[in-house]
């Protein structure tokens, strides 16, 4: 609980779970959810380093804050694009969208 490695392990595991989801979900929204998990993993990392190693406790927190902001923006754009795709294909299954290939 008070060791850096625990947090790093947690973050890494979360990252990999997110990655697993990203790679196997067919639903675009599912993929987006997985991405959010991965971003959180990075946040945990930042804060853990901040807590155990960092020179200035504020820096890591600010990083996490910005990651959240970016995540929000990302989610907004992603969702709007997913909806746009849904309008075209009547589906948000990524495997249906394979016009572009070769």
């Amino acid at each position: 609980m008070d060791s850096l490695h625990t947090y790093l392990f947690v973050a890494l595991l979360l990252f990999c779970i997110g990655l697993f989801g990203l790679l196997q979900r067919r639903s675009l929204i599912g993929m987006l959810i997985s991405v959010e998990l991965m971003l959180n993993a990075a946040s945990i990392n930042f804060l853990a380093f901040n807590r155990f190693l960092g020179p200035d406790p504020a820096v890591g927190q600010i990083m996490v804050l910005f990651i959240m902001g970016i995540a929000a923006a990302e989610a907004a754009i992603a969702l709007s694009l997913i909806l746009a795709l849904y309008r075209r294909l009547r589906s948000i299954d990524i495997e249906k969208a394979r016009e572009l290939r070769g």
Binding site: V35, M38, A42, F66, A73, A84, L85, R88, L100
Partner: protein
């Protein structure tokens, strides 16, 4: 003091103001396309002027998070020119929904702004956010296309690959933060010699680079490129193919320079990626039917060439990479410019659609030929000189085999470029198509591009010296 800071921030400010103006132009329901175009062109011109004025400025802003040096200013100039060029061929903008012309230009400028901020940023989070700014603008630009259904698909794929890459990058940044306790590049650079042997430092840096590999479309982060080029409007593709590549190169140079070339294993990985990019890009480009898709794969290959300059981690290699990105911007833009001008209704072009181009417009055919020969690295064009410099950089470090592989790849690439030239120069169009009318400014643009491609090919001295000075400042300055 304020005035000086203002001067330092001039190119970015120009773009910010431009974005603001365009934002207001988005608001009216019915917009005058010609006016929007004229305004955008003027703003892009101002941007170039700003970048030119910014040349030679040196200094730090925002509590050292932002560094203005020759290196960044050179890239800002390249970016500004790229934006100007792209705006230049947006006349009519047949490929974009009518309602969104102003939005199109707005996002073009925010993207340019993001890239400019990116090349000057010397703090990891700033870098990240600037990158996202430019990426998000592009994610929006891609599906703005009129017509077929490919654009949204391309946009979604671009977005997902992009956010995956940015997640990975962020994760890597966290490790860098962990080992170096800071997010400032200067601080990292000070501390890196102590920690470079730490695996977490290397993987962190590698993951951070992957975000820019994605921008540059280096294998295996290239998968978006063909789809996006094909799906996006021609002008957008031109923009992605030129400006965003240059910004990525700048950042790759900045970040790899951090290591000071001390980690050989790091270079090994870059070398593998470089060879894989070149080979895969060139091989797959051979079988492409669509010209934009072909250019996309060729851009993957060119990413490999640029990487070859970067992985040398030497002054010559870096300046070669700078030169190459300029060269690539010019020649790729020339090729895309022709595509835009031939695709009068903004449609996608197959290579066979170029048939009879030499009759329809000899000038465009000539521009295309020179651009393609330049891409293939045939002298006396700028593409050759770029390749030459990159290879020289690699050879200086003794990477003989890398140079050999690069040259073999250049030969392979010649094959598919020749296929396009064949279509443009040899094949007669099946139906008698009307001659293409190229307006006088665009004619001038073509002449200018040809002249520039040949001039920088034959007389690389001036720009090369500039690039070398920039790189030297960048490497020694911190």
């Amino acid at each position: 003091m304020i005035a000086r800071d203002f001067m330092l921030f001039l190119p970015e400010l120009t773009y910010l103001v431009a974005a603001l103006i365009l934002f207001f132009m988005c608001l009216p329901q019915k917009a005058d396309h010609k006016a929007i175009y004229a305004v955008a062109l003027a703003l892009a011109g101002l941007g170039v002027a700003g970048a030119l004025l910014g040349m030679g400025q040196e200094g730090h802003l925002f509590f050292d998070a932002y560094q203005v040096d020759l290196f960044s200013q050179v890239f800002k100039l390249i970016l500004a020119v790229a934006v100007l060029l792209v705006v230049g061929i947006c006349h009519g903008l047949a490929g974009v929904e009518d309602r969104y012309h102003a939005d199109f230009f707005l996002f073009l400028f925010t993207c340019g702004l993001g890239m400019m901020l990116m090349v000057s940023a010397v703090e990891l989070m700033t870098l990240y956010v600037a990158l996202e700014l430019s990426s998000f603008s592009l994610y929006i630009l891609v599906p703005l296309r009129r017509g077929d259904n490919l654009d949204v698909e391309a946009g979604v794929k671009y977005l997902f690959i992009g956010i995956t890459a940015s997640c990975v990058m962020l994760f890597g940044m966290s490790y860098i933060f962990g080992v170096s306790h800071t997010t400032y590049l200067a601080g990292i650079m000070d501390r890196l010699p102590l920690i470079i042997q730490q695996p977490a430092a290397m993987i962190g840096l590698m993951l951070t680079l992957s975000g820019f590999f994605f921008k540059l479309a280096v294998f295996p982060f290239h998968f978006w490129a063909p789809d996006v080029y094909q799906g996006a409007a021609n002008q957008v593709a031109a923009f992605i193919a030129t400006a965003s590549k240059a910004a990525a190169v700048a950042l790759l140079i900045r970040l790899t320079a951090l290591t000071g070339g001390t980690s050989l294993y790091f270079i090994d990985v870059l070398m593998v990626l470089c060879v894989a990019s070149m080979t895969l890009g060139n091989l797959v480009a051979i079988v492409q039917k669509g010209i934009k898709r072909m250019l996309a794969y060729s851009s993957v290959a060119h990413a490999g060439y640029v990487l070859m300059g970067i992985l040398t981690m030497s002054e010559l290699g870096y300046s070669a990479a700078v030169f190459y990105s300029m060269a690539y911007m010019l020649m790729n833009f020339a090729a895309f410019g022709v595509v835009v001008m031939v695709a009068t209704s903004g449609q996608n072009l197959a290579i066979s659609d170029l048939a009879g181009l030499h009759k329809r417009s000899p000038l465009l055919a000539l521009t295309l030929m020179i651009a393609l020969f330049s891409l293939a690295g045939i002298p006396p064009t700028v593409g050759f000189t770029g390749k030459f410099l990159v290879f020289a950089g690699a050879m200086q470090q003794g990477y003989f085999w890398l140079v050999l592989v690069g040259m073999i790849n250049a030969t392979i690439s010649l094959y598919y470029y020749l296929m396009v030239i064949k279509a443009a120069y040899l094949s007669e169009s099946p139906a008698e198509l009307p001659p293409l009318v190229v307006s006088m400014p665009l004619r001038l643009l073509n002449y200018l591009l040809i002249a520039a491609m040949v001039y920088f090919g034959v007389c690389p001295g001036g720009f090369l010296d500039l690039a070398q000075a920039a790189v030297r400042g960048m490497m020694g300055g911190d």
